[in-house]
C-alpha cells in the first residue's frame, strides 16, 4: 500500500545518478577504494536518518516488535517503498539476531560493470549505510554488509544484517 501512495520516478535516472555519485566519490578520494567505501557508507547513514521519517509518515504500521519483525519490514516493505524492488529475509541464525536481506533486483547496480582496479569497491555500500542509519533512528544498533554482490561475482544481491544491540536514549523532548 505504501508503494502505491509513493511518488515515483523513473529508475533509470536514479541508477545513473547513483553511478555519477559513486564516480564522484572515487574521484574525490583519488581512487582509494577503502575510503570510497567508507564515504558511500557515511552518505547512506545520513540518508537513513532522514528516510525513516518518510517511512513512518507513509506507513501506518505498528512499531516492529523485535529484530526479526524489523528485518522483515526492511525486506518486505521498505525496499519496495523506496526502490520498487521485492525482497525477503533468509538464513536466520538460531537466536534471530542475524539474517540475509535478499533483493530480487538491485536498481543501484543496473548497467554497471566494475573494472578490475575497482574489484574491492562495494558499489552499493550506500544502501548498507541507509539501513544502519535508519535503524539507529529506531534505537537499534546493527551492522549491514553485502554478503552477495553480483558485481563482485556473487549470485544476486543480498545484505547480511546483524543486530548489535539496542541504543538506550532518553526520550527526545526537544527533537
Amino acid at each position: 500500500a505504501a508503494w502505491q501512495a509513493t511518488e515515483k520516478v523513473n529508475a533509470e535516472l536514479f541508477t545513473l545518478t547513483y553511478g555519477a555519485i559513486v564516480r564522484q566519490v572515487l574521484a574525490d578520494y583519488e581512487d582509494c577504494v577503502p575510503e570510497a567505501n567508507a564515504k558511500l557508507d557515511a552518505m547512506g547513514r545520513s540518508i537513513g536518518g532522514r528516510l525513516i521519517e518518510e517511512f513512518n509518515a507513509k506507513n501506518e504500521q505498528q512499531r516492529c516488535v523485535d529484530f526479526r519483525d524489523t528485518c522483515e519490514t526492511i525486506a518486505g516493505v521498505a525496499l519496495r517503498m523506496f526502490l520498487g524492488v521485492g525482497g525477503h529475509c533468509a538464513d536466520w541464525n538460531a537466536d534471530h539476531t542475524s539474517c540475509l536481506v535478499v533483493m530480487e533486483t538491485n536498481p543501484l547496480a543496473d548497467f554497471v560493470e566494475l573494472p578490475e582496479r575497482y574489484r574491492d569497491l562495494s558499489y552499493g555500500q550506500m544502501l548498507c549505510g541507509v539501513i544502519v542509519g535508519a535503524l539507529e533512528q529506531v534505537q537499534t544498533r546493527a551492522t549491514c554488509e553485502w554478503e552477495k554482490d553480483a558485481l563482485r561475482g556473487g549470485d544476486g544481491f543480498a545484505m547480511r544484517v546483524t543486530l548489535v544491540g539496542q541504543i538506550d536514549t532518553p526520550y527526545p523532548f526537544d527533537d
Binding site: 520516478v9 523513473n10 545518478t17 530480487e104 538491485n106 549470485d155
Partner: protein
C-alpha cells in the same frame, strides 16, 4: 563475470521520488564545502547523466547529413525527457526565438524535501533558498548533457524560488544555445 541480474530499469522500473531526492541531497552535502568547484563538479556529474539518458531514450538523433532542427531537442527535453523523469511535462516554455529558452517547473521534484531549520523565518527562507540553489547545479548539468547528446551545445542556468520553507521550489531553467545572443559563442 556473473550473469547480470535482471534489470529493474530495463523493465521500465520505478523508484520512489524520495530515494532520488535523498541521493541528490547527499551529492550536494559532499560538495558543499567546495563552493564554485563543488558546483562545477555537480554540473559535470549531471552532464554525464544527461548524455547517458539521452543515449538510452532519445528517438531522434542528429546525423551529419541531417542535423536536427534546433527546436526539436528542446521540445524533447520539455516533453519526453521531463515525462520520463518526472511524469509530467515542463509547465511552461518561453523563448526569445534567438536561442534562449526558459523552461519552468512549478514544483521541481528534486526539491520537495529541502530542509531548512533556522531561528527565524527569514533565516529559514535564506537557507532554503541556498539549498535549492545548490541542488539546481546537477539538473542544469543533466539538461545540458541531454542537449549535447542531441547535438546542441548550450549553457544552462537555473533560478529557484522556494515555495515555502521545506515546501519545494519553482525552478526556471534558462538554456542559452551556443551562438545565441547573450549565450556562449
Amino acid at each position: 563475470m556473473a550473469s547480470p541480474a535482471p534489470s529493474a530499469s530495463d523493465r521500465g522500473g520505478e523508484v520512489s521520488e524520495a530515494a532520488l531526492e535523498f541521493l541528490l541531497a547527499e551529492l550536494v552535502n559532499a560538495q558543499r564545502e567546495r563552493g564554485e568547484d563543488g558546483r562545477r563538479v555537480m554540473t559535470r556529474a549531471g552532464f554525464d547523466v544527461g548524455v547517458k539518458l539521452a543515449e538510452r531514450c532519445a528517438r531522434v538523433r542528429p546525423t551529419k547529413s541531417r542535423p536536427l532542427d534546433r527546436f526539436l531537442p528542446i521540445l524533447f527535453v520539455c516533453k519526453d525527457w521531463w515525462t520520463r523523469c518526472f511524469k509530467k511535462r515542463v509547465d511552461n516554455l518561453k523563448t526569445n526565438n534567438r536561442g534562449v529558452y526558459v523552461l519552468t517547473d512549478e514544483s521541481f521534484a528534486w526539491m520537495r524535501r529541502v530542509r531548512a531549520a533556522g531561528r527565524t523565518l527569514e533565516e529559514e527562507a535564506a537557507i532554503a533558498r541556498a539549498e535549492c540553489d545548490a541542488r539546481a547545479a546537477f539538473p542544469c548539468g543533466v539538461i545540458r548533457g541531454t542537449l549535447a547528446a542531441l547535438g546542441l551545445e548550450s549553457n544552462v542556468s537555473a533560478e529557484t524560488t522556494p515555495l515555502s520553507p521545506g515546501g519545494g521550489a519553482k525552478v526556471a531553467f534558462t538554456v542559452r544555445l551556443k551562438g545565441a545572443e547573450g549565450g556562449p559563442s
